[in-house]
Amino acid sequence: MECASSPARIAVRIQREDFDAAAQANALTRGRADVGAVVTFTGLCRDEGGKLAALELEHYPGMAEDEIARVAAEAESRWPILGGVAIHRYGKIAPGENIVLVVIASSHRAAAFEAAEFMMDYLKTRAPFWKKEHLKDGREGAWVEAKDVDDAAADRWRAT
């Protein structure tokens, strides 16, 4: 038997359209009985106490896909992952709407939780996306500032 290179287990998509988290998660487990744990993370747009009309998500086309694929490849090398999906939206997103989805399927829960959290931490600090606020009073708000706490969250995966 030929030795084929293993296919990417975590699919990556960058899109303007909304996604269906449940359909994505179900597709990972359908017709198989080796998945014991599925962790789904959905990141949503908050209205920041009512002041926000929308977030405008700018991205670097091409690099956004590549960088999330690199994060996914690292997750696959660190945890036994049976399947996964990472979807990041761009464009104008209203409060309550989805921004990002990470789903990880594994035999065991610790791997699924860790890989999903790792993906989110790395994606937040490495994927080329930027959020600009649009305020309810019609004004264009500021660019969202990167948080030290996100860098710290990503850094903790280096110790392991």
């Binding site: 921004i99 600090t125 080329p128 996306f129 660019w143 990167a146």
Partner: protein, 87 residues
């Protein structure tokens, strides 16, 4: 020996410089990302404003993150942007 390089700008770096991208041919003594930022900053107010806090600027060469001491030789596209806030 220097080649024309596509420069891309994102988020407030793009807004400050006033364009999403441009193709420039830096002189041969511009060897690193830091050299390039210094050279651009001297080109005009808009660049000086975009790069006023040069250390916070993130840089990608051919769609991969690099540090500012990275050499730019052979780069086809260099992108400048603020720290990422996706997710």
């Amino acid at each position: 020996m220097s080649q024309p390089i596509k420069l891309s700008y994102f988020a407030w770096v793009r807004e400050r410089i006033g364009r999403p991208d441009e193709t420039l041919q830096p002189p041969a003594d511009v060897r690193t990302v830091a050299d390039l930022i210094a050279w651009l900053s001297a080109r005009g107010e808009e660049y000086a404003y975009a790069f006023e806090k040069a250390t916070v600027i993130r840089v990608a060469i051919d769609r991969k993150h690099v540090k500012q001491d990275s050499p730019i030789e052979g780069a086809r596209e260099i992108a400048f942007f603020p720290p990422m806030t996706g997710g």
